[in-house]
């Protein structure tokens, strides 16, 4: 005799993480995304998202700013975590910088037009 209502039943017990099983399908986790966004006029923003944890994004931002001669900021996003934001189209430069400093080129995804 068991009353179902009295059981402490976790409805999501066997569900698991829906994306956990298919981690290879839609995983964007391993990639470093470099995106561009248009602002007003011919101005643009470059965002760097998905930096591996072992890198200090604050220091990286400092290096970026110095290297690319642009301003930038660190944005905390709820979903995306820390995102480096730079002024201007720095996609190619960021990619080259990261590759030069030992990141795998295949892990970097450059988006945009």
């Amino acid at each position: 005799m068991s009353v179902q209502n009295l059981n402490s039943y976790d409805p999501f017990a066997d569900e698991g993480d829906p994306l956990g099983d298919s981690a290879d399908v839609g995983s964007t986790a391993d990639y470093i995304h470099i995106r561009i966004q248009q602002r007003n006029g011919r101005k643009t923003l470059t965002t760097l998202q998905g930096l591996p944890k072992q890198y200090d994004s604050k220091k990286l931002l400092k290096a970026f700013k110095k290297e690319f001669a642009c301003n930038g900021t660190l944005v905390d996003d709820e979903k995306m975590g820390q995102v480096i934001q730079l002024q201007g189209d720095q996609r190619a430069k960021i990619s080259a910088f990261l590759v030069e400093n030992g990141l795998e080129k295949s892990t970097i995804k450059v988006h945009g037009f």
Binding site: V25, G26, T28, I36, Q38, D77, M80, G112, F113
Partner: protein, 375 residues
């Protein structure tokens, strides 16, 4: 000799393989392992060539097999190669024959079929040494014509008999050598090592003298012939370069006002790619980090200033990721959604793979904060 220890293991391998394959004559041709069949072929060649003068095909096979053999089994024979070259120059072959024949003679003396085995067992020495002989002889005989060919046939028979008396192991390969020379003159040129490069050229050029002869055709010959006729019949298959390119009309971009772009022929392009416009538009927006809408005429209004070239780039990336088959590069694919996962099935090669879901990444705050409710 110094190479003996190196030789022995390979010889043993050969023995096993050869024995097995000789038992199954069909298996020899069909066998996927490359080195073994070649040796078998050569052995059969050797065996048959002893009996029958004109089985030139087999000899050709042997000829082709040997250079390939040298490449494929280079691991085993690297050390030997140097020795072999030396042998070519020095003609030290008889030494090897004697030593090898000592091991293999018992088999060869038994039957005619084992006679085929004998040479293969010693194949490393014999084949290569033969090749050297062939090279030399072929160069010498280069001036000979068909008459010379016939003469050589008879000579080879004689020589095989005589040599058979002297050395049973030499029996198979020796006649081979003479025939091979003839073949060389006919279509391949003198150097068997250079053959792999030369043969396809000759065949492509339409020189297929082996078509008229009633010998067995080699795999290489038939393969090149197959491709030649295939490409002749279907020029579209020739290569990716000459392939009919998959073309799509360039995107038509207009400016609406100062801050919006209009992508006029989205629907046409989507139709051409066999993709849902929603999917394409979603990708465009995610990739360009912007938003927009589809107007009444089916045109896409994109926020921001974009040029045709930029949209083209994004579309190109979309094609790479979601349209062209990763396996066969064919754009003839279908995109279906199953359990929240998109699958791309290729119509031409049947491959099926999952593709990444479109995710728009981080969107930075642009413009006035007051306009943005979330910000």
């Amino acid at each position: 000799m110094s190479e003996e220890p190196l030789f022995d293991p390979s010889l043993k391998k050969r023995k096993k393989k050869n024995v097995v394959f000789i038992e199954d004559p069909l298996g020899a041709d069909a066998d996927p392992t490359k080195p073994a069949p070649e040796t078998i072929e050569s052995t059969t060649i050797n065996g048959e060539s002893v009996d029958l003068g004109p089985t030139t095909a087999h000899e050709l096979m042997a000829q082709e097999a040997k250079p390939e053999k040298t490449e494929k089994e280079s691991e085993d024979f690297k050390a030997m190669f140097g020795d072999m070259k030396k042998k070519k120059k020095k003609k030290e072959i008889p030494m090897d024959f004697g030593e090898d024949s000592g091991t293999s003679t018992p088999i060869t003396k038994d039957d005619a079929a084992p006679a085929a085995e004998g040479p293969t067992i010693t194949a490393d020495d014999l084949d290569f040494s033969d090749m050297k002989k062939k090279k030399k002889s072929s160069k010498k005989k280069a001036a000979f014509d068909l008459d010379a060919f016939e003469k050589e046939l008879t000579e080879s028979k004689k020589s095989s008999k005589t040599e058979g008396g002297e050395d049973e192991d030499d029996e198979g390969p020796e006649p081979d050598g003479s025939h091979l020379d003839n073949i060389d003159e006919e279509e391949l040129g003198e150097d068997p090592f250079a053959h792999p490069g030369e043969a396809p050229v000759g065949l492509d050029a339409g020189n297929e003298p082996w078509l008229k002869s009633d010998r067995d055709y080699t795999y290489q010959e038939l393969l090149t012939r197959f491709y030649a006729s295939l490409h002749a019949a279907n020029p579209s298959l020739l290569s990716s370069a000459s392939k009919k390119r998959y073309t799509i009309a360039p995107p038509q971009l207009f400016r609406e006002g100062n801050k919006k772009s209009i992508f006029a022929n989205v629907t046409d392009i989507c139709k051409k790619m066999h993709r849902q416009p929603e999917h394409v538009i979603q990708y465009l927006f995610a990739e360009m980090g912007t938003t927009g809408s589809v107007d009444g005429a089916g045109r896409l209004v994109i926020k921001g200033r974009f040029q045709q070239k930029q949209i083209e780039n994004v579309l190109r990336r979309y094609m790479v990721e979601y349209v062209t088959c990763k396996t066969c590069k064919s754009p003839d694919t279908l995109l279906t959604k199953e359990n929240r996962i998109f699958f791309m099935a290729c119509e031409s090669c049947g491959s099926r793979r999952s593709v990444n879901a479109i995710k728009s990444g981080f969107q930075a705050q642009v413009g006035k904060r007051s306009k943005n409710k979330t910000g």
